[in-house]
């Protein structure tokens, strides 16, 4: 079966506005991921970037009147939950071993 958004009314807000918000959000997340030195803050920034992409998916789903975009967002959120659990566990283990989560100090595999 194909998912079709029921009775899609014309959008009051131009879809381009949503797209611009999403891209700006992605850029902000990227800036955070590049500028932060704390592994947890970098992780948070990546979550923000994922949400920017989710917003993009929702916008396109609305524009096309197709539920597949919303479905993908559902899966992204679920995978993000799994990823957050494992990632945070890694940080906890890392902190036990090195007493820090500063990515400048954790450079064992860097060179």
């Amino acid at each position: 079966m194909t998912g079709v958004l029921p009775g899609v009314a014309p959008m009051a807000v131009p879809p381009g506005a949503f797209l611009v918000v999403a891209t700006l959000l992605f850029a902000i997340g990227l800036a955070g991921a590049l500028l932060k030195r704390n592994a947890l803050s970098i992780f948070l920034s990546i979550e923000l970037m994922m949400n920017a992409v989710n917003l993009l998916f929702l916008t396109y789903a609305r524009m096309r009147g197709d539920l597949a975009g919303q479905m993908i967002v559902f899966f992204v959120i679920a995978v993000a939950a799994a990823e957050a659990a494992v990632g945070l566990a890694i940080f906890v283990a890392l902190f036990r071993a090195h007493r820090t989560v500063d990515v400048d100090k954790i450079a064992l595999l860097k060179w």
């Binding site: 998912g3 789903a61 899966f75």
Partner: protein
């Protein structure tokens, strides 16, 4: 010029909230404050999702993201007792500038590209038309028909992730 409808006002307010608190999240030095700023961002994003006719995703955004994932972040931050980012001694100004430039350039590039891209055509509805108020049942039907395999794989992934997280954060392998 479009009339200033209520929807437009809500959109302006929500997107301003989202962007402002996302910026605040990046600027904050303390991880706890970063997380709290991100909570506000996620609430704004769920308002945007409602504007995009996705109430289920909006609810999910608040339940899963703000309610579960960010709370997990808060737990870990407080468990590790992270202080400020070591006063952030600016010992690598080149990388900072470069990072900022890259982020700005990519943001401009993406915004320009998305605005210039041809908009996808409205899909031609092929399924049986669904009555107006409920798309959540439609989503559920879709989830358990077309996406059933992905859904089952996802549940397995969550189980594996939970076991893996448990194993990783165990104090010692015995």
């Amino acid at each position: 010029m479009p009339a200033l409808s209520g929807e437009l006002v809500v959109f302006g307010f929500a997107s301003l909230l989202v962007l402002a608190f996302a910026l605040l999240m990046v600027v904050q030095k303390t991880p706890v404050r970063s997380v709290l700023s991100l909570v506000v961002t996620f609430f704004g994003l769920s308002v945007l999702a409602i504007l995009l006719a996705a109430p289920f995703i909006a609810a999910l955004q608040i339940f899963v993201y703000a309610g579960a994932i960010l709370v997990l972040f808060l737990f870990v931050i407080m468990l590790l007792n992270l202080k400020e980012e070591a006063a952030d001694k600016d010992d690598r100004p080149v990388q900072r500038t470069l990072g900022l430039l890259v982020a700005l350039a990519l943001g401009g590039l993406l915004a320009g590209a998305t605005l210039r891209a041809p908009l996808p055509p409205r899909g031609t509805p092929t399924g049986t038309p669904i009555p107006m108020p409920d798309e959540i049942p439609a989503l559920g039907r879709l989830l358990f028909s077309d996406y059933l395999l992905a859904f089952e794989v996802l549940s397995l992934l969550l189980l594996v992730a939970a076991v893996g997280a448990l194993l990783l954060s165990k104090r010692r392998f015995e």
